[in-house]
Symmetry: C2
Subunit: 285 residues, 2 copies
């Protein structure tokens, strides 16, 4: 099986599990959750989690609830970030945003519900009893990265930092929190559940940091070519700060450093490598 086929199969498994988790019970609330989660996401974070788990000997079934938790958290953050009081976005993935389709009140609750569900399914994940401590460390990791020191802190920076007077260090902190934190958590939970050594955990974290930086830099590059047509409000981003050519060089550097971290780990990691290298393609998904 090619790597692409392997990833496609994993993505299908993630989608099946997400469908099972989000019951479509015909209330607007569950429909809004469904709408947000099944609107064409690439499942990049759960794929990272599953592939990282595989590299550290964690089976797909055991990894799945944790992988899905990252996707639920990702989607809750998109719903809340799109709200009028935040970024006030009208479209997402070619469709009206959740609050435009279901109303702000229902969208707010749908986000809250996805976040809550993420932690509930990690607590329900069927693990051998002796793996309990690893579950706790994995949940701690997700909670920390999703919280005020991670994603939420990053979104707060995003709404408070002025895009006109941004230093490189500020932009990196913003990206590492807003986008990087959940990506770091996604790869780390695989390593944690697989009982990686502390040296490996450090390398996995370095891999996640660089993938996170690359992911957002690539997004900024793609957005910069789109913005000529639409005209989103100015947000702090790599292209406006460094210019297009330098942003591309930075993207290549981040991917290179991610690959270096994988090499240093000396584990089988062809799928993780593929996911990182895929970020070099800056044509639109």
């Amino acid at each position: 099986m090619t790597i692409e086929d392997k990833l496609k199969k994993k993505k299908q498994a993630v989608d099946r599990e997400l469908e099972r988790l989000i019951k479509k019970d015909e209330t607007p609330l569950s429909e809004a959750m469904w709408y947000a989660v099944f609107s064409g996401g690439k499942r990049y974070r759960p794929l990272l989690a599953l592939c990282s788990g595989e590299s550290f000997g964690v089976g797909q079934e055991m990894m799945m609830p944790f992988a899905c938790a990252t996707e639920l958290i990702h989607n809750y953050s998109l719903i809340h970030d799109d709200l009028p009081c935040m970024d006030n976005d009208e479209m997402r993935r070619g469709q009206p945003t959740c609050h435009r389709a279901f109303g702000e009140d229902v969208a707010l609750l749908a986000g809250d519900a996805l976040l809550t569900l993420a932690f509930e399914i990690m607590a329900r994940a069927p693990l051998e009893r002796e793996l309990g401590p690893r579950r706790e460390r994995a949940v701690q990791e997700v909670g920390f990265r999703a919280g005020i020191q991670g994603m939420i802190g990053g979104q707060h920076l995003d709404i408070t930092l002025s895009p006109d007077a941004l230093s490189e260090a500020q932009l990196e902190e913003l990206i590492l929190k807003k986008t990087g934190a959940l990506i770091i958590a996604s790869v780390k939970i695989g390593a944690i559940l697989g009982d990686a050594s502390s040296g490996q955990l450090e390398l996995v974290t370095a891999f996640g940091r660089n993938v996170g930086l690359a992911f957002q830099t690539r997004d900024d590059i793609i957005d910069s070519t789109e913005d000529q047509e639409t005209s989103s409000p100015a947000r702090p981003n790599s292209v406006s700060l460094f210019g297009y050519p330098e942003a591309k060089r930075r993207l290549e550097r981040f991917v290179g450093e991610a690959i270096q971290a994988l090499d240093d780990m000396s584990i089988e990691s062809d799928t993780l490598r593929y996911l990182a290298c895929g970020l070099l393609d800056v044509t639109k998904d």
Copy 2:
């Protein structure tokens, strides 16, 4: 020590732990979290959790992170419910609501952060290794009760049900989800961590249900006397549905049934009894 003194000491311990958890790092985000949590809450839910734990032999230190989690979740829900797209409340506990003090965007993130922190601290709670499975069951309980089948589902009912055409069954479902769910979770996590029997768990759940129903009925009674002065928008509530005298009879019945459940448990539970009986006092807190 009198029961009142015991509860006062427990409340002080809860406040100290909450102060430790919510670092006031001078960013608007952590200030908003602090503002919401330290605005004069009675800590009713963490007190229920600590007292329930005590009844089932769980020490205060072990119980504390779970008790605080219930208070963080309670306060996140208040922030989000107060937002303009939801209840659009301007005042809470005699102060401007969180979004009026910090802006809607920061209030939204502060709520998200409190919810995330609640689950993070439960995963971090220092427990003996063999108690891991009880932690998982406690977190499952909190996640379930906070989620779409519990609090979030209740808030959704609250914004969709018409107060004019409400049946008794609908009102009870609304109260049990919106207010009851987290109260049930608060008393159940004490029993779960104390390894209560399934019979005891059923009785604790019955106690929590009735305390939840009594708590909201009492709130409705207090609100009904206040509404003559202010003029909140009509929400589904016990007084408008049953009238004041019948609402008071219902309150007494719920407290009576809560006490009956405690009696049937045959455990030392003087503090839980006191917390339930305190709901009979319908003068304002």
